[in-house]
Symmetry: C2
Subunit: 340 residues, 2 copies
């Protein structure tokens, strides 16, 4: 899922988003609550109508942003109080309030309100966040009343196997339409991510979509798919694109680099995106050096297209029975490169 | 002509530019000389290939930017010396150098290197700039050696009728493939623009394209077309768009205004652009308030589409024999509004 924080994938129009191959888009409850406010979105007929995207949409719970961005005043079992970055007013976010906002936004999938402890955190802290996440999940389930919207529960537990196991069991017991894994890719080394994925893979319900939150690098997505994960979101493709960096063949290229100044070849010959089809590395270098908006848009388009070509290739490999051979594990120099 | 200063119409991809109805694009010699440099563009196969735009292109001479933006060291009959805003180095721009750069850029139309005096200027100053512009035109004609590129001469003369008349005669005598009028819309009141256009209309060659430089407002374009003008360029549609302003029915709407917050109707029902077809005023308001790139792109697209719908409507009216009735003069409240 490309990330459309404020009901827009930054710098990308809806037809361009469709061209990237995106099937589903994520939007941020926290940002939309602050601006334009869920009442405006609801009045417009919901988030799909508001942003003009007719494909599936998911909203996060707002919790992650409150914990990572907000000036928090207080966290307790009831919820989180924080100061609005717009006008300094106090806002209370609770499981019930998050459900209300997400129901008003009207995405296809709403996420349970969880507590994601910072990395690194001690066992006691993570255990408390887990306990709270489980209590809040119950309250979310009770407060959620939109039959046309799926509610996904979130597994926490940091890097502690027994907490992850317990959290997986608690979330599975709710028998919700989907299960997510949170608290991953929040600063821990890749080996930790791999360990958690291998641990959780066998514990998740087989018949429900599995969503690995905040992960979008190619090796981690391949590893997660091998563990049965279906959904990902990541700001990286667009954030890197806005900063002049392109994802090419598993590498990150800084287009500002002087080596691209007179390189009149396409960015990535295998990529069907507009940047690669119609422009050269020299032109993209020029746009980035000139600080032109179009450079940010074209590189975001390319990076989204690349990430989504990769996930599409995995889906195809699964259908054709060659996933294990081509993608498990996948490395930038792996022979599987020929399959996408 | 939308303005593509640095070989990009700001924030607009080439397919989007095609969708606006644009037939020809202007790029700025001054900016392209500084970054990426004409050698890179030439090596790429010329400006069309470099920016991926296969339609007609025009480059200005660089003179206007040197006079209006550059830290000028010296102007004399030979040319203009200015300091590069990039590295402070001294750059000498002469008629010959401008021709060299424009030939390397390889647009379909190159413009003669002229001196556009600031507004207001006294008669002696404007007369000197005219004399220099005419001398420089001779040198441009001598230096220009690209059979596949048209060179247009530029008429100066400020607000002085006898200087405009003299300049029109000098430029016409060169029998170039096109004639431009410069030094208009540089700060003088609209009545002055109208007076100059009415004066020059009958003096310009009937069989050559006439280009009114830097003008793009609807009433002025209609008035100029009535005087036989064919080509215009203006940064206004994109510049206003980037600042959150939309051109609607001859008016300028600031989308940041709170009155659009809950207005879920299309920006302009008559407009076929992406912003109007797929989004609402409330969504555009939200994007502008959030400082989102997409807001700048969508409003630029809309403003370009609106300006180009207007010029297309004038062309249609001419073909159908109703131009005088519908567009001469045209006002926002004129009944001609129904024709575009």
């Amino acid at each position: 899922m490309p990330v459309g924080t404020a009901a827009t994938v930054k710098g990308i129009t809806v037809p361009q988003l469709e061209d990237t191959g995106a099937q589903m888009v994520l939007a941020n409850t926290y940002h939309l609550h602050l601006q334009p406010g869920e009442a405006v979105v609801e009045e417009a007929g919901g988030l799909h109508r508001f942003m003009g995207w007719s494909g599936p949409l998911l909203t996060d719970s707002g919790g992650f942003q409150v914990f990572s961005l907000g000036a928090i005043n207080r966290i307790d079992d009831h919820g989180v109080t924080f100061r609005s970055p717009r006008d300094g007013s106090r806002i209370l976010l609770t499981p019930e309030r998050s459900m209300e906002i997400q129901m008003a936004l009207g995405a296809d999938v709403a996420m349970a309100f969880d507590q994601c402890p910072p990395q690194p955190s001690g066992e006691a802290e993570v255990a408390l966040a887990c306990r709270r996440t489980h209590d809040w999940l119950e309250r979310c389930v009770a407060a959620h009343r939109r039959a046309d919207q799926a509610l996904f529960g979130i597994i926490q537990g940091g890097c502690f196997p027994h907490l992850r196991r317990e959290s997986a069991a608690v979330v599975a017991a709710h028998d919700l339409p989907g299960v997510a894994v949170g608290g991953v890719s929040v600063g821990e080394p890749p080996e930790e991510i791999h360990r958690i994925l291998r641990l959780l893979g066998p514990l998740l319900p087989d018949t429900k979509p599995r969503y690995l939150m905040g992960v979008g690098s190619l090796p981690e997505m391949a590893l997660a798919v091998a563990q049965g994960f279906d959904l990902f979101d990541c700001v990286l493709p667009t954030r890197l694109g806005r900063h002049g960096t392109a994802l090419v063949g598993g590498e990150r290229w800084n287009l500002r680099n002087a080596r691209f100044r007179r390189d009149h070849t396409p960015l990535d010959e295998r990529c069907p995106c507009l940047a690669c089809r119609r422009h050269s590395r020299a032109y993209l270098h020029h746009l980035v050096r000139s600080g032109e908006m179009l450079g940010r848009t074209l590189l975001s388009l390319h990076n989204l297209t690349t990430s989504l070509r990769f996930t599409s290739a995995m889906a195809r490999a699964i259908r054709e029975g060659c996933f294990a051979e081509d993608f498990a594990p996948w490395r930038p120099d792996s022979p599987a490169a020929h399959t996408w």
